[in-house]
C-alpha cells in the first residue's frame, strides 16, 4: 500500500524509492501503535483468559488449591448427571426462542408506525424509546412491583377486561413470559434501529411500484422488507447472542440467584455463576462456558447461512 503523501508527489522515483519504504515502515509502526490498546486487551483479557479457561475446563479447578486434570470429566458430568444443566439450558432456549421473534416483530411494527407522517411523531418516538435506555436493578424492582399478582399494575389492568392475571413471578409457568414482557417494554432501541433504516429506503422505489399498481401490502413485502432485511439480520443476530447471556433478570428477580419457583428462572448463565462464584467449582463453570460458546457459535453460523436466503444487500453481494 502506498502512502497518500507519495502518490501525490510528482516524480516520485529513483532516490525517492528508499524514502518511500521508510515512510511505509513508519506508517506500519504507527498503525500498530494505534491498535495497540486493543491488542493488549485482546491478548491480556480475552485470548489468554480464554486459553486458561479452555484448559481449566478439563480440571477440577477451584481458584485456591486444586487444579487436577480430569479429562472430559466436567463435560461428562454436565451431559449425563446434571439435570440442572439441562434445566438451565431449556430455560435459556425457551427465553431466546420467544424473546427474539417477539422483540424483533415488535420493534419492526413500532418503527413502521413511527415512520408515518402524523402529528406528534417526535413525542411518540421519545416516549417509545425512553424505556429502552433504562435498565438495571431499578427496572427489575419496578417490574416485580408491576407484576404483583394482587396489587400490581398488570393484573389490575387485566382485571379491567375480565382476565384474571396469573401469579407472574411465583408461578413457574409464567415467570419467563413475565421476563419477556419486561423485555418488550424496551423494544424502543430496536425500533430506532429500524426507523433509521426505513428512512434510508429511497422513495422512488415506492413511487414506481405505486405507478405499477402494487398494493401497500405488496410494497411492504417486496420493497420495505428486503430493504431493511440487513438490519433485521443484524438485530436478530445480536439479540440472539445477547439473549443467551441473560443473567441479571434471573439473579435480581429471584432472590439472589435462587432460580425462582421450581428453577424456572435458572438461566444458563445464572447456573454457571452459581457454580463459579458460590460453589467455586470453577472447572465445571468454565466447561459450561465453553459449551455455551459452542452453542452460540453454531446458532450464529446457522443464522448466517440462512441469511443468504432472505437478506438482501443492495448493490449485489459477496
Amino acid at each position: 500500500m502506498k502512502t497518500t503523501a507519495e502518490t501525490l508527489k510528482p516524480g516520485a522515483s529513483g532516490p525517492q524509492k528508499k524514502k518511500r519504504s521508510r515512510l511505509a515502515r513508519r506508517e506500519e509502526l504507527q498503525g500498530y501503535l494505534f491498535i495497540l490498546p486493543w491488542l493488549i486487551g485482546l491478548f491480556g483479557i480475552t485470548l489468554f483468559p480464554m486459553l486458561f479457561s479452555l484448559y481449566g475446563s478439563f480440571t477440577n479447578y477451584d481458584v485456591t488449591s486444586r487444579m487436577d486434570f480430569i479429562g472430559l470429566g466436567n463435560y461428562a458430568r454436565m451431559f449425563r448427571d446434571d439435570p440442572l444443566f439441562w434445566k438451565s439450558l431449556y430455560n435459556t432456549l425457551f427465553y431466546v426462542a420467544l424473546m427474539v421473534p417477539l422483540t424483533t416483530i415488535g420493534s419492526v411494527l413500532l418503527a413502521l408506525m413511527l415512520n408515518e407522517r402524523i402529528a406528534g411523531m417526535r413525542v411518540f418516538r421519545t416516549i417509545y424509546y425512553l424505556p429502552a435506555v433504562l435498565s438495571g436493578v431499578g427496572v427489575y424492582f419496578l417490574w416485580i412491583q408491576l407484576l404483583n399478582p394482587s396489587t400490581g399494575l398488570i393484573n389490575t389492568m387485566l382485571g379491567w377486561v375480565g382476565i384474571p392475571g396469573p401469579a407472574w413471578l411465583s408461578d413457574p409457568m409464567w415467570t419467563k413470559p413475565a421476563i419477556i414482557m419486561m423485555k418488550l417494554w424496551s423494544v424502543g432501541g430496536g425500533m430506532l434501529l429500524y426507523l433509521a433504516s426505513l428512512q434510508g429506503v429511497p422513495s422512488q422505489l415506492y413511487e414506481s411500484a405505486k405507478l405499477d399498481g402494487a398494493s401497500a401490502f405488496r410494497r411492504f413485502w417486496h420493497i420495505t422488507l428486503p430493504m431493511i432485511s440487513p438490519v433485521i439480520f443484524f438485530d436478530v443476530v445480536t439479540s440472539f447472542i445477547g439473549g443467551f447471556q441473560i443473567f441479571q433478570e434471573g439473579y435480581v428477580m429471584t432472590d439472589s440467584g435462587s432460580g425462582g419457583p421450581m428453577g424456572s428462572l435458572l438461566f444458563y448463565n445464572l447456573y454457571m455463576w452459581n457454580q463459579a462464584f458460590k460453589l467455586f467449582d470453577m472447572g465445571y463453570a468454565m466447561a459450561m462456558a465453553w459449551v455455551l460458546f459452542a452453542i452460540v457459535l453454531v446458532l450464529t453460523l446457522i443464522n448466517l447461512r440462512m441469511s443468504k436466503r432472505w437478506v438482501y444487500y443492495e448493490g449485489g453481494e459477496d
Partner: protein
C-alpha cells in the same frame, strides 16, 4: 396489532386516491383513515409504555397501607415526599452515587479516547495484517461475555485486584470491539481530502487524529460517551463480581442490597429505584439527539 405490520392493507383494495407514508410530502392534506388509526394506536401504546414509570413514581409516594390496598390507586391519596428523604438516609446513597459517578467518569474517558484512537488506526492507516486483525476484532464480538468473565476473574484475583475498582476500570481503556467497529465505519466516511492536506504538510497520524478527526466526529463520540456512561451507571455484573466492601458499592449494588434491608416496603424500594433511574432519564431528555445518533450509527454498521 398485526394489521399495522402491512401499512394500509385495509385500504389497498379501494380505488380512492392513495396517500400513505411513502408518498412524497405534499404539505397540508386530509388525514387518511389509516393515519387516524395509527395515531390512535400510537397514543394508546404510549400510555401503556408510560404507565410503568407513572406507577413507579406513584408507588414511591404512597404510604405502606395504601400500597397494600386493593384495588390499587393510580394517584396517591396522600403524597409522602418524605419517603425519598427516608430512603436517601436509610442507605448510604450519597456514597453509592459518588462511587458510580467515578466509575462512569473513567468509562466515558476511556471509551471515547481509546476507541476513537483504535478506530482511527483501522480506518485511516494502512499496515500489514490490518485485515486479519480487523476480522479478529469482528470475531470477538461473538464471544459471550461469560466465556471470558470467569477466567478474567481468576486473572484479577491472581493479581490481587479483586475488591478494588481496577477490574472495572482497566477494561474501559482497552477498547470495545463494537464501538471500534462503529467508529471505524464513521471514520471511513470522512472525506480523504480533509486529512490529505495535513498529511502533505508532514503531520503524523497522531496529529491528524487529535486535530482533524476528533473534531469531525464529535457527534459520534458524544453518542459513545452517553452509551458508556449509561453502561457504567447500569452495570450490575461487574461490581457484583469484583466489589465486596460496602464502601465501594455502586448504586446498582447498593439498591440491590437495600432491598434486603427494607424487605417489602415497596414505597422505599420504588423511591430508591426512582433515585437510581432519574439521572438516566434526565440525561436522556438532555441528550436525546446523541442517543439517536448512536442508534443511527449502529444501523449504519450492518451489512
Amino acid at each position: 396489532m398485526n394489521r399495522s405490520a402491512a401499512p394500509a392493507t385495509g385500504k389497498s383494495s379501494g380505488g380512492a386516491p392513495k396517500i400513505d407514508a411513502y408518498s412524497v410530502p405534499v404539505g397540508k392534506r386530509r388525514r387518511s383513515p389509516r393515519e387516524v388509526l395509527v395515531f390512535v394506536l400510537l397514543s394508546a401504546g404510549s400510555l401503556l409504555f408510560l404507565l410503568p414509570l407513572w406507577w413507579m413514581i406513584s408507588t414511591s409516594l404512597k404510604s405502606p397501607q395504601e400500597i397494600a390496598q386493593y384495588p390499587p390507586t393510580f394517584i396517591p391519596k396522600e403524597f409522602h415526599f418524605e419517603n425519598y428523604v427516608h430512603t436517601w438516609h436509610a442507605a448510604p446513597f450519597t456514597l453509592y452515587a459518588f462511587n458510580t459517578l467515578m466509575l462512569a467518569f473513567f468509562a466515558v474517558v476511556g471509551n471515547v479516547l481509546v476507541n476513537s484512537f483504535i478506530a482511527y488506526g483501522f480506518a485511516r492507516i494502512s499496515f500489514r495484517g490490518k485485515k486479519f486483525w480487523f476480522s479478529v476484532l469482528l470475531a470477538t464480538m461473538m464471544i459471550p461475555g461469560f466465556v471470558t468473565l470467569i477466567p478474567q476473574y481468576v486473572l484479577f484475583s491472581k493479581l490481587h485486584l479483586v475488591g478494588t475498582y481496577y477490574p472495572l476500570i482497566i477494561p474501559q481503556f482497552l477498547g470495545s470491539a463494537f464501538y471500534i467497529f462503529m467508529l471505524r465505519q464513521f471514520y471511513m466516511g470522512i472525506p480523504k481530502e480533509l486529512t490529505e492536506a495535513a498529511k502533505i504538510d508532514g503531520a503524523n497520524h497522531l496529529y491528524i487524529w487529535a486535530r482533524i478527526v476528533i473534531p469531525l466526529s464529535k457527534p459520534a463520540l458524544a453518542a459513545i460517551a452517553i452509551f458508556a456512561f449509561n453502561g457504567a451507571w447500569n452495570d450490575f455484573l461487574g461490581p457484583l463480581l469484583y466489589v465486596n466492601d460496602e464502601v465501594l458499592y455502586t448504586l446498582q449494588i447498593g439498591l440491590q442490597s437495600f432491598r434486603g434491608s427494607v424487605q417489602t416496603q415497596w414505597n422505599y424500594l420504588m423511591a430508591g429505584s426512582v433515585i437510581v433511574l432519574l439521572p438516566v432519564i434526565v440525561l436522556f431528555f438532555l441528550f436525546q439527539k446523541y442517543f439517536i445518533e448512536g442508534m443511527n450509527l449502529t444501523a449504519g454498521t450492518k451489512g
